[in-house]
Amino acid sequence: MGTTGPVTGNRDDGWTFRARAVTKVYANGVRANDGISLHVAPGEVYGLLGPNGAGKTTLVKQVIGLLKPTSGQISLGGHDLLADPAAARQLCSYLPQAQVPIDSFRAREAIVLCGRVRGGKRAEVEKRADELIEALDLGEWRGKRGIGLSGGVKRLVGFAMVTVCPGRLVILDEPTNDVDPLRRRMLWQQVRELGDRGIAVLLVTHNVLEAEKAVDRVAIIDNGRLLAEGTPSAMKAADRGHLRLQLMIAPGRDAPQAPPFARRARLAGRTLMAVLDEPDAPDGIKWAQEAVASGVAEEYALGATSLEDAYIELTGHASGHEDAGRR
């Protein structure tokens, strides 16, 4: 069973995923996707970044056949997924943004059953389920029923359910929601391994900083449009030699003017983000310390620029903060 059974080893470029000019206008007139084109090669982990409401979930639901594009094409290898949604369901595995229905299952049982439904052989599925339980540190819950699991543990079980017997394309819609930082790292590791096994991974997230480490390429989406695409380092290239100064504004206070030497600055929720040239770092620290001393700000941080700076520049949103994508 090669399609839904575990895919092993060699990368096979015949299984590239492609979306071409995908546009989705909902019945209420919302244009959730607007001419999105992208491709994901086998073995590639492709991050879809964007604030809430950007259109990420809409895009992946069209891939798995839950929604129909208004126009555009979606294919995996030689399969037209729009014309053949049954093939889409067999070739792709999908972790939705919402929780998986496992209330009456025990955690390990849910993973095994899902692998079986996806077409795996019992012995292989059980072995792989145990490996995933180990790798995600879920041992203490393996025999617990879903109804008693916390949101984060359920999320990890859901991840194991859809990847125990992955298709050619694995679609993960915000897999790390509610997951604790330690297990997030384990989860990213498993995502990476999916890629290393030659599977194409389409990863939706609004947590840019974490995604940066796990993905080969990213696309930044906002308002239904693909704004930029590339490797994380290429996306950051424009900010080489720069530093990022973050100033957390105190509640009830107005944000101060960015320092005049900042290359650029943006207010994202309660955080003022400024990009500085490295030589300006001492001035930046002094400026931030004064803001804290005067009570305008609560704290500040100075660090290397990251993908997030490119993301903020493009979307005007900070990710992974309380205000992520609020609109």
Binding site: T3, G78, R89, V117, G167
Partner: protein, 262 residues
């Protein structure tokens, strides 16, 4: 479509019959495991519904006429058969829609017909023990003797199948969870109070009796009753046709609803 690249050599989808059978078996296992806390409760509720109805009706009469006793005792198991499909699936799917897990299940790589038949199998297995107990309760309460014919098998299978398909049609066709629940409950009321399931159609006002000629519930009772008490019901071939037509129409709605992509 544009062929972007040749499918890779590892593309070994099993032949459709094999895939269908595997999907059926594994989906049935999934249903049983995911509902194992509820199915025994559902069986008990059906026993209460059936046996309770049989005994309750007996309280209305000091001495129930024989034909009325036959109607009630053979109608109550039919109510069980209809209820399991018509009530449970819409409620379950409504709950899945509200929790957001509906889409996860819809994205599983199982042929839709295999998943539907898996659910039918589970529903039938849940309903059969209550059906038998309800029937036995009626026989014991009213000292009836039935002459059960082999036609009971197609009658029971078709009645349960039609109830399940109607339930699936409501569950998948009506996207508003509250509306789906209301519709299925309304259908149960129609079955209990306004359809000749537990009483002869002649008891209904003329117009309602004619409407029921085209509704499935009275016909479901007719085909099942005719297999339990030969000669007691007439219009049996027509009743089979009506029930089968409802099954087919419901199956079309299910196929349309599941193929529909927003």
């Amino acid at each position: 479509m544009t062929m972007i690249a040749a499918p890779g050599p590892a593309m070994r989808r099993p032949a459709p019959p094999e895939r269908w059978l595997r999907g059926y078996g594994r989906m049935a296992a999934w249903d049983i495991a995911s509902l194992r806390l509820y199915l025994p409760v559902l069986s008990c509720v059906l026993i209460l519904q059936g046996a309770g109805f049989v005994y309750g009706m007996g309280l209305l009469f000091a001495d129930m006429p024989q034909s009325a006793a036959v109607f009630v005792s053979t109608g109550a198991p039919v109510m069980n058969l209809i209820t399991v499909g018509l009530i449970f699936e819409p409620q379950l799917v409504a709950q899945q829609r509200m929790q957001g897990s509906y889409e996860f299940l819809q994205a599983l790589p199982v042929p839709r017909s295999a998943a539907a038949l898996a659910w039918y199998t589970v529903a039938l297995a849940t309903a059969l023990p209550p059906v038998v107990l309800t029937l036995l309760a009626g026989l014991a309460r009213y000292h009836l003797h039935l002459a059960i014919t082999p036609m009971v098998i197609p009658a029971v299978l078709l009645t349960c199948l039609t109830g399940v398909l109607m339930g699936l049609a409501v569950a998948h066709g009506v996207t508003q969870p509250m509306a789906a629940n209301l519709i299925s409950v309304t259908l149960i009321f129609v079955m209990t109070g306004f359809s000749p399931v537990n009483f002869p159609a002649g008891q209904l006002p003329g117009w309602l009796a004619s409407v029921n000629q085209w509704l499935p519930f009275g016909s479901m009772a007719t085909i099942t009753r005719s297999a339990l008490v030969p000669g007691f019901a007439d219009g049996v071939p027509r009743a089979y046709a009506v029930v089968a037509a409802w099954a087919a129409a419901s199956a079309l709605v299910v196929a349309w609803a599941q193929g529909r992509r927003g």
